[in-house]
């Protein structure tokens, strides 16, 4: 497929050299990082942008009338414009900086949910959601007498339209789904979901934390009302993420947090809120984080999502083939690599995920093990924990070979 399309994969160009951690971190064998779904490494361009900001532009934004503050504001708001373009939002008023996806989804549940949902309304989520797209809705259920409907994924870990149609009720007012499952890697048909929910007047919230590093996002094309993602999964610093919200909805919502920056006027009796998006950015924000996020998006755009996807396709095919060929190994999620991103969760009969991770770690291979903040999904899968290997632009086929060696070593060491 790659040759037919004549498009480069990221393996044809060595993007790994852009990431200082692979040079700086020693070890007997090359360091293999297969946990980008939890945290992607930062390219040099991001690190340099953050350092340059700290060295030359550090100042509070929207405050000072001096040049330094004006320049810091320009950098911060410039990052917002980069995020706007990245998501294809209509205006920067629709882009709120948050700490991460979790905070963004809590903002929606708190500010929108508490004020616009009522007793007896239904919220629809899938069983495959990360806790950050589950617990805020569970809290609303408990606080407001809202009914939380749980939609099961099918045997491939995919969400079908039949299941959505069966689960939606006339009282369903909000649906919150991940674009990509952080455990199964499955890409959900958010565009079709968006159309379906829009036709029924259901607010559609998209958790794009796992999608943003792998596939292009177009909020107008999806037609969602809210969409959240985290910077650190894109190679940006930690503590910066973003919430997209439709301007007309954000306008009606009360602030999430109250304090500095988010006001127009305050008297002893009352307060008036700032314009969008600043109404939702109380207190001094993570300015260098936003600058780093802007640099991370520019870096990704320089590679291009087609290149990223092509590389993942190669790595995924290789990984699934490796897992299919080792006796006692079972992986979860779609078998078709085109239906998933570079996130693969698996279990090995008779070997605990922690033990596999320790054996891999001894050879410099990092994978994630545990419930990946998706306990309801693991309960449904019937396993307390899974092993997860995830890829990004710096991974190479050799990394999959090292994963295979580690799995074989673990089986040899630990099996009876």
């Amino acid at each position: 497929m790659l040759l037919e399309r004549n498009i480069k994969s990221s393996m044809e160009i060595n993007y790994k050299k852009d990431f200082p951690i692979f040079e700086k971190r020693g070890g007997e064998k090359p360091f293999v990082y297969l946990d980008s779904a939890a945290m992607a490494h930062s390219p040099r361009a991001v690190i340099e942008a953050v350092v340059a900001h700290a060295e030359k532009f550090r100042s509070n934004v929207h405050r000072g009338v001096y040049a330094l503050s004006e320049e810091a504001t320009e950098a911060y708001e410039g990052a917002r414009e980069i995020v706007r373009k990245f998501l294809n939002a209509r205006s920067t008023g629709e882009i709120v900086f948050t700490r991460n996806t979790t905070e963004a989804l809590n903002l929606v549940a708190s500010s929108f949910g508490r004020n616009f949902l009522q007793v007896g309304n239904h919220i629809l989520v899938s069983r495959a959601e990360h806790h950050s797209n589950f617990l805020p809705w569970q809290q609303l259920r408990d606080e407001k007498g809202i009914i939380l409907d749980i939609l099961d994924v099918d045997e491939n870990g995919e969400i079908t339209f039949g299941a959505i149609e069966r689960a939606v009720t006339p009282q369903t007012k909000l649906a919150a789904f991940s674009f990509v499952s952080n455990v199964l890697g499955a890409i959900n048909p958010v565009k079709e979901m968006g159309k379906f929910f829009r036709e029924r007047g259901i607010i559609f919230v998209v958790d794009a934390a796992q999608a943003a590093p792998h596939i292009p996002i177009d909020v107008q094309n999806i037609g969602c009302d809210f969409l959240a993602f985290s910077g650190y999964k894109l190679g940006a610093p930690t503590g910066i993420g973003s919430l997209y919200g439709k301007e007309e909805i954000l306008e009606k919502m009360p602030p999430f947090l109250r304090g500095g920056s988010m006001i127009r006027e305050v008297t002893v009796e009352k307060a008036e809120w700032n314009d969008l998006p600043w109404k939702f950015e109380a207190g001094t924000q993570n300015i260098e984080g936003a600058v780093g996020l802007g640099a991370a998006i520019k870096y990704i755009e320089g590679i291009g999502f087609e290149t990223i996807r092509n590389s993942e396709e190669i790595l995924l095919k290789k990984t699934l083939a490796v897992l299919e060929n080792i006796k006692g190994v079972r992986f979860f999620g779609p078998k078709n690599v085109l239906c998933r991103v570079g996130v693969v969760s698996f279990v090995i009969d008779g070997i605990h995920p922690h033990d596999l991770a320790s054996i891999l770690d001894q050879d410099g291979v990092c994978i994630r093990v545990g419930h990946h903040c998706a306990m309801p999904l693991h309960q449904w899968l019937g396993v307390p924990a899974t092993c997860r290997a995830s890829f990004w632009v710096y991974n190479e086929p050799e990394d999959v070979a090292r994963l295979r060696e580690g799995i074989e070593k673990a089986i040899h060491t630990l099996k009876y």
Binding site: H354, S358, G370, P384, T413
Partner: protein
């Protein structure tokens, strides 16, 4: 200490754990879980006055956790509640004869953390 966690001594305790299989004669049963990986463990204790007379456990857990439960369950026999509270986490690593990272230490002390909830 050996470089690898998975040396023969640990593996033998994982494969043939001491005090494995829940005893029918017991005073208290406690459930413990490791929040990092979702592992769970059941422990039953039988007391003679203030001292542990009988101990048994069952777990769905990793090698480190099960081997540590095997060794620690032997170690606490005959000990009083106060003596069990005085056991430092390092003692478990010493029983296992391995060096543990902080995350694996939580696996190793799951048994001890579990019984401390009820004694």
């Amino acid at each position: 200490m050996p470089n690898s966690i998975y040396h023969d001594f640990i593996l033998s305790h994982h494969r043939n754990p001491q005090n494995y299989g829940l005893a029918l004669n017991f005073d208290i049963e406690i459930k413990g879980s490791n929040m990092i990986c979702g592992d769970s463990m059941y422990v039953r204790l039988k007391f003679d006055g203030d001292s542990v007379m009988g101990v048994s456990f069952e777990s769905d857990s990793c090698v480190v956790s099960r081997a540590a439960a095997s060794l620690t369950s032997e170690y606490i026999k005959g000990k009083t509640r106060d003596e069990i509270w005085a056991i430092p986490p390092e003692k478990v690593a010493e029983l296992l004869q391995i060096l543990l990272t902080p995350s694996r230490m939580k696996c190793a002390t799951l048994f001890l953390d579990t019984i401390r909830k009820a004694i």
